[in-house]
């Protein structure tokens, strides 16, 4: 790999991230099942403990801050399943990560087509 220049605002989910985030991503993967989504919502702390999340991961989930989840090793494809539980769309998630309002974020998407 010759091209390892960092890309601003981007965390490449590689082996190091995959090891760091394993418990968090495994929990989010479990949300493919309705039963598991319900169990999480019934008792979030117990559910996070069951999957062995570390404190950084738990706090990111409690705060619902996507950038913190990524910093804790979360992968966006699995995190999207957690966002789904809170009925957040990828525009909501994008707005949160970029610090924009939802309307401004959507407008930014449209503008790129001009």
């Amino acid at each position: 790999m010759t091209d390892k220049q960092p890309i601003p605002g981007t965390t490449l989910f590689d082996g190091a991230e995959a090891m760091k985030g394993y418990a968090l991503n495994k929990m989010c993967y479990s949300f493919n099942s309705r039963e598991n989504r319900d169990a999480f919502q019934a008792d979030e702390e117990a559910y996070m403990a069951k999957y062995g999340l570390n404190e950084q991961q738990k706090q990111a989930v409690r705060d619902k801050i996507v950038l913190d989840m990524i910093a804790a090793g979360g992968n966006i494809y699995y995190l999207a399943k957690l966002a789904g539980i809170y009925a957040l769309s990828v525009q909501d998630v994008g707005a949160q990560q970029t610090g924009m309002t939802l309307d401004n974020f959507k407008e930014m998407l449209v503008r790129q087509g001009a």
Partner: protein, 280 residues
């Protein structure tokens, strides 16, 4: 002998699955996107392919990080769509073509691409959305499918060149199948988009247009790009363009563009569609 009649590409955005379920075809937001597909459906109705080989990426439905294959192929009689966790209605299963799958597996592994083989495989929006768009009545038509899944979840991803060469190997495999079947290759995903990080919302129209132009006549243009380079140009998830390149690798004949469509934004994505004819 089996014959590759063409290649299709389509973005596979989950929100499209919801829009199809709600029949938002004439909704002002969706119309410019959906309007791209009817001409291709007409072409498909005329050509009548028997088999669709669908190059896609799993987004955490069939595979988790406990086992994350770089290249995997289905060899199942049927592929089921399942709950992905965020509310897209689950759709009817797709028919497989297991004997054809095993022929591809034999040929491609002999060709030094060591695929993971799957006799059970759940297919997510990455596979289902393009199938629904190109074959809305797929259940009645009985089109048979062969899913080929490429890792775009956990780096390192296979390079553009490696994917193109896999496509070439798949193309050779298909054309050596003894039955007279018509095959279409579907490259899904893309185009530019990024969902994660402070760069979320990134779309690159100029690069998408370049991709749509070059992939028709000059796919070699992309073969020395690195994955990082592709992430930089197309966004963290726009890297799915490697799936388009895999499709293009399988088109071994003379390729002619029949239809294209491009629209920004659908969800967070530059949405692109191509229909390519492959003449022996």
């Amino acid at each position: 002998m089996a014959q590759i009649v063409g290649g299709l590409t389509s973005s596979h955005i989950p929100a499209v699955g919801n829009a199809v379920a709600k029949e938002l075809f004439d909704d002002p937001y969706w119309k410019p996107f959906f309007d791209g597909y009817p001409p291709v459906r007409n072409w498909l109705a005329e050509v009548k392919p028997d088999i669709a080989v669908v190059i896609y990426n799993d987004h955490g439905l069939n595979f988790f990080l406990d086992k994350q294959p770089t290249f995997a192929i289905g060899a199942a009689p049927e592929y089921r769509n399942q709950d992905e966790g965020w509310g897209i209605p689950t759709i009817a299963p797709f028919k497989g073509a297991p004997a054809f799958s095993w022929h591809i597996i034999e040929s491609v592994i002999a060709d030094e691409f060591d695929l993971v083989t799957c006799q059970e495989m759940a297919v997510d929006h990455g596979f289902c959305v393009p199938m629904q768009l190109f074959w809305p009545t797929y259940e009645d038509l009985g089109i048979r499918t062969i899913p080929v899944c490429i890792n775009t979840v956990q780096h390192p991803f296979p390079s553009p060149k490696r994917c193109y060469k896999l496509g070439q190997a798949i193309g050779r495999a298909i054309e050596s199948y003894p039955e007279d079947l018509k095959v279409v290759i579907v490259g899904t995903g893309g185009m530019s988009h990024q969902l994660d990080g402070q760069r979320a919302g990134f779309i690159n129209k100029k690069f998408d247009e370049l991709c749509m132009d070059k992939i028709v006549d000059d796919p070699a243009y992309f073969l020395d790009m690195s994955i990082n380079g592709l992430v930089r140009e197309a966004g963290a998830q726009g890297v799915e363009f490697i799936l388009w390149l895999t499709m293009r690798g399988a088109l071994t004949g003379t390729v002619k563009e029949l239809y294209r469509n491009y629209h920004i934004p659908i969800s967070n994505t530059g949405a692109g569609m191509l229909c390519l004819e492959n003449q022996a």
